[in-house]
Symmetry: C2
Subunit: 588 residues, 2 copies
Amino acid sequence: MNRTHTSGQLNEQHIGESVQLIGWVQKRRDLGGLIFVDVRDRSGLVQVVFNPEISETAIQVAEKLRNEYIIQVKGTVIARAENQVNPNIPSGAIEIHAQEIEIINEAKTPPFAIENNTDAGEDVRLKYRYLDLRRPAMYDTFKMRSDITKTVRRFLDDEGFLEVETPILTKSTPEGARDYLVPSRVHNGEFYALPQSPQLFKQLLMVGGFERYYQIARCFRDEDLRADRQPEFTQIDMEMSFLSMDEILEMNERMMKKIMKEVKGIDVTIPFARMDYDEAMARYGSDKPDVRFGLELVDLSETVKDSAFKVFASAVETGGQVKAINVKGAAANYSRKDIDALGEFASVYGAKGLAWLKVDEEGLKGPIAKFFEGEAASSLIQTLEASAGDLLLFVADKKSVVADALGALRLKLGKDLGLIDENSFEFLWVVNWPLFEYDEKEGRYYAAHHPFTRPFDEDLSLMDTDPSKVRAQAYDLVLNGYELGGGSLRIYSREVQEKMFEILGFSEEEAKAQFGFLMEAFEYGTPPHGGVAFGLDRVVMLLSGSTNLRDTIAFPKTASASDLLTQAPSPVAQAQLEELNLKISNTQ
Amino acid sequence: MNRTHTSGQLNEQHIGESVQLIGWVQKRRDLGGLIFVDVRDRSGLVQVVFNPEISETAIQVAEKLRNEYIIQVKGTVIARAENQVNPNIPSGAIEIHAQEIEIINEAKTPPFAIENNTDAGEDVRLKYRYLDLRRPAMYDTFKMRSDITKTVRRFLDDEGFLEVETPILTKSTPEGARDYLVPSRVHNGEFYALPQSPQLFKQLLMVGGFERYYQIARCFRDEDLRADRQPEFTQIDMEMSFLSMDEILEMNERMMKKIMKEVKGIDVTIPFARMDYDEAMARYGSDKPDVRFGLELVDLSETVKDSAFKVFASAVETGGQVKAINVKGAAANYSRKDIDALGEFASVYGAKGLAWLKVDEEGLKGPIAKFFEGEAASSLIQTLEASAGDLLLFVADKKSVVADALGALRLKLGKDLGLIDENSFEFLWVVNWPLFEYDEKEGRYYAAHHPFTRPFDEDLSLMDTDPSKVRAQAYDLVLNGYELGGGSLRIYSREVQEKMFEILGFSEEEAKAQFGFLMEAFEYGTPPHGGVAFGLDRVVMLLSGSTNLRDTIAFPKTASASDLLTQAPSPVAQAQLEELNLKISNTQ
């Protein structure tokens, strides 16, 4: 079996050459005694023409061809007539006049057409994933994924990183998301856990003097799935010793720049912008702001704290906020009904209401305009830089609801109004995170990143007095409103790590049982270190322009964590369970 | 924090330069009012000298230093006196005269010294793996491992392969080794399995038109462990469409050649030798022969079938074999006691006895010499190309025992007698394998490789008549007596695959339940395809000259599949089990 060229490779330069191809029948048309067959391989398409005057034998075989048959063809490259040139494919100016053909394998009619634009449901596509993967757009995505990891690896190799594999069979830890468990046969009643990240192992490699580690690492979380979650996902994972936060960010900026150049052909400017967490929340209502457009949140709490509109005044009085978005020039485009729909949207994020005003030449209009007259109106207009034709949208609530609701509304309006340049890639570091988040319901602190994040040195004393004020040496990289990943400098002293677990509510025994080995390691000459992890699946999704994370994973799981192709998970033999000394207590 | 150089980088060329280093204290010596400190980082060692005449402050700090402290040092590179040059390290001709020092982190006394030659037990090394990894020899191994995967990836990238990740949460299949199971929380009573290899997925990628796939893939087997087995291991895994076996072997030879060149600096000759499975078994008693030395097995069955020595004659008569090794010139070195010890050794492999003869100027000597006189003696001597001083060792038994016992004995003698050039790397393809192995105890056929291996076209009809005669289009790559891996062309027709499962004893329903999706895939235009998988851990072990597979894995498990560092596996919370609806039926 042999090919001299691939389908996608052929063009005018090959005219007159004798070529041999192998590929799939994309389409067959019979026309005027000739048979035209588009032959597809992973590189593209080329048209092959069977003509009884060239070979009677060949056209007889061609008559049997159906879609997705695999054929081997030998023929000559001929220029197409000018009116038959197809400008949409690289081989569109030529065709192959076939002398010989062999059918390598036959095919039943696929349940859906192998074309980029498919209306097949995702369940069918997942069940027949091997056919779905034949769609050229899918191949392109996985080619891009492979190119991204190639670029990452070459970059990190050149920077002196070692690729090290960390275990998949690890220890279950209580902090964080739910673990997938693996029962041990040798140690009955005990379990391994699949890692949520290689966090502890990469820190141990730093203790072990490796200085620079990376891995394209598989990670696992047994969580309820959403459109952008999978039970297993992949991290570009790295850790390094002796580097400052600035040095870590700078290196990762160069890596991202290289990916963008190699994979998208786009030159992005470095250094990337940096924004404090507090500023991101204030201006965009989000810790991963999409900075490709404005519509920023404006704080009116000071302006309206004595407002005649009691909803505003009392929100401020009870410790909340009043913030607004000025949708420039949109007043005429949004009817009362449209605005009601925006209110519905905001309520999903917890807002009890969405107040609004329109601005015209005479001043403010709308149901609450009566509360804003004279000085109150002009200070509103001034603070919001409003002018005639603007639509002003207000949320008055506690701080987190204001941020969530207006942040989400801002994104929706940005899309609806076409304010976003879909071809632009705006990277942003969000820095100066809080170390802890306080959970009011549970009355306890959680680690905003994870329990190994190093606090700022100058905030160490606050760990005893006011943990909520402690800032973390952590950083997230945001692209177009998506968190690509992030990292932190790590704690490398036993005392600080113990304090951390104490604040998180671990007893001394619990901390020791779960993380004693790490704290012990810190006592044997541990270098200052820090790291980064990026979500590869999400990077691929953003760079490929997809909105479905499953399109970036060759064999993904559904929202109920099933593989529709192989039918995993599935029942297992009773003998397998007996070997593990396990019983299913209550099958649903 | 900043370093201008690394320790291993400094040499005579830097004399006179001011440098700044960060690293671990390898050793401190106080001598004549000076303090000498060896500073280690991952690149190597350099000697730093503290002199009160240069800095009183610095030497006061240096007085506190103990092994494994991390320090930052600033100083000047000075040539050592000629009689103090250390030729064993690259920086041995220079030393740093320190002006400033800062202690970055302190260290307790490690439980074992951080040196290449350690007498620490492996349990202690595994418990304190982060200290074990600081030993330069360990770092070198992982640097080599990283270099090997880098070389493999660059080679395969250049050959047009796509790196594709396949799932870790997959479906349990009954064939092969024992699966690790992962209970599903969403689908109670059902389980995922961790993959023993990406076999099915890589074939499905070929069905999906990817044409060339590779992955450095984690695989899992819940088997009883031996020195060269780990519960999780790594495969260099690839699959390709439309290539012949010769093309696959040729590409892999070029890949191996490149690895040897890049990692070991050795030029190996390609193409590698190829040997039929039958020949390997006949000449070496092994399907993975070490061909760096002779001591081949010689078949004497024909020669001795009518021998006066009944043990030989009856072995042949009952369908067995008589084979021998001629240990040239060894007669004088092996006493009767030594030979008895060899007999003990052979008995481990099932041999009921080890017959022997010595050759001297007069003929054969030894307890069975009396059975070989005249013609019988001379035909033995001739067949074995024996001459005075040779030791002849015989096993007479059924074929498999003869091969196992003499094959093992050959390896032992090769080592004991120093016949093996430890610096030579002899690659060998073993080809023309049988498709099936018949298990006499269970009275059934097993797949010699796996159930997806393609038989020779011309042997297809034998599947119905005599499966044991069917040859497989399979190949193993052997290096110095170790199987590095192998592969095969795959079945790509539903009919042949069904026949395969039938011979392996699957009912139609079982085959469909387990592998129905694959057989269905074959009906939609599947390309002829084949692949290879190499055991990365073993490749690293052989190229690094180690004999312990655990030294090639950063965080390995013990023989009872435990991680002594993190204490995995471990008990989990009752709540975790309840979420999975699992009960431990009988804790040991």
